[in-house]
Amino acid sequence: VSTQSTGLHCTHSMDSVFGFVGKDYVLLAADGSANRSIYSITQEQDKIMRLDDTKLLVGAGEYGDVDQFTNYIQKNVHLYNFRTGVQLSTRAAAHFTRGELATALRQNPYSCNILLAGVDPVGVEVVEGEKREIGGPSLYWMDYLASLNKLNYGAHGYISYFLLSLLDKYYKIGMTKREGLELVNICIDQLKRRFIINMPRYVVKILKTDGTFEVLHTGEDSHVPLSD
């Protein structure tokens, strides 16, 4: 079923990963399927990794590359925490990840697209004389060529063709958690309707600026339960 071939850069994967920034949270969603050729090995896979208390990472692409790379990043973030006693900011973690991906890519073909989500303490910084607000929830999108962008919403894989236009229309800055979850369900509905790959179950992970972390699973209707 896969149209990717090894040895070439695959541009899209069947993995469905998307995410967006809300009023006081950031959310990542990923489907639970692990498919190999015509088989669905499982629908219960949890692809979204916790880097530390305030960061999440999900990869999409070539299976081996994704597993290895996301694991490598996670362990390096842990090492940083142990070594220094402080946490990396989301921005620092994103740039670190980007650098490592760029390096890996220059050794051999590598296909791993990343969404990195995090929450940071709010603050102000001065860059070239200009004051900028930093912190709060943030989302970083990185494709397999290690190009990094900070975005309000993003997606990887074939599903991006379906979801980006949907998110363009329905995403609003400063959505409440309930509004965000409603938006997730709209996205899932669209994929259920129009995407040929069957993805009955999704996992949604939410990081809030108050430090809480939530994991939601879709139910029989492939919807996440709504809550505030």
Binding site: T84, V86, S89, R91, A92, H95, G99, K131
Partner: protein, 250 residues
């Protein structure tokens, strides 16, 4: 007896000492005093210059103070040439970190890296240790203003106020008595002048014998400023030097 165990850095003496490291510290104890004082508004680094000459071209280089990064500066006591190597290493390390993380390197991590590098020279390679001690002053978002001291052994510590170089014990005991956690930058500057007045041989303090630097934050931006001669003269004049009493005075 000690002579047998001096010549190689990579061996212990029977008493468990590393003589080369100790000899390095001895070299530093002859260097111009450096004082570092933490205040609520920033950090003062003050030092006594040893090379003073009318023929010296001013402004080309500093003997004691160096900027390591946007948010970090240091004062040096010891062999200047050795210091240059370590300063370069510190600057490289800082920039490598910023290249990787796109953020300034937190101060303690920088100090730690430089110290790990110094430690290497006490354990392998057969090279002598660096004959330099540093006082690092910096600000980062994790711990705010911080002052660290590192020595040739590769050990470091965080301080509220400390001194290195010649007469550092006199300086440190005076700091212990006079330092307060409520200090403003101004009070810290004045105390630095008093401390150096006590440690320096000469009877009168002039700006040409001193280097003073201040690390502070203005509008969310970290600034490192070395005082000009004029500012130093004004500062020295504002301190009542006759009121200094030795801790030994009854």
């Amino acid at each position: 007896m000690a002579r047998r165990y001096d010549s190689r850095t990579t061996i212990f003496s029977p008493e468990g000492r590393l003589y080369q490291v100790e000899y390095a510290m001895e070299a530093i104890s002859h260097a111009g005093t450096c004082v570092g004082i933490l205040s609520t508004e920033g950090i003062v680094l003050a030092a006594e210059k040893k090379t003073i000459s009318k023929l010296l071209e001013p402004g080309t280089s500093s003997e004691k103070m160096y900027k390591l990064d946007q948010n970090v500066a240091c004062a040096v006591a010891g062999i200047t040439a050795d210091a240059n190597i370590l300063i370069n290493y510190a600057r490289l390390t800082s920039q490598r970190y910023t290249y990787q993380y796109q953020e300034p390197m937190p101060l303690e991590q920088l100090v730690h890296q430089v110290c790990d590098w110094k430690q290497g020279y006490t354990q392998f390679g057969g090279l002598r240790p660096f004959g330099v001690s540093f006082l690092y002053a910096g600000w980062d978002e994790h711990f705010g203003f911080q002052l660290y001291h590192s020595d040739p052994s590769g050990n470091y510590g965080g301080w509220k106020a400390t001194a290195i170089g010649a007469n550092n014990q006199t300086a440190t005991s005076m700091l212990r008595q006079e330092w307060k956690p409520t200090f403003t930058l101004d009070e810290a500057l004045k105390l630095a002048v008093k401390v150096l007045a006590k440690t320096m041989d000469s009877t009168a303090l002039t700006s040409e014998k001193l280097e003073f630097g201040v690390l502070k934050r203005e509008n969310e931006k970290v600034k490192w400023q070395e005082l000009t001669d004029k500012e130093l003269e004004t500062l020295i004049a504002s301190v009542n030097l006759t009121s200094i009493t030795s801790p030994d005075d009854s």
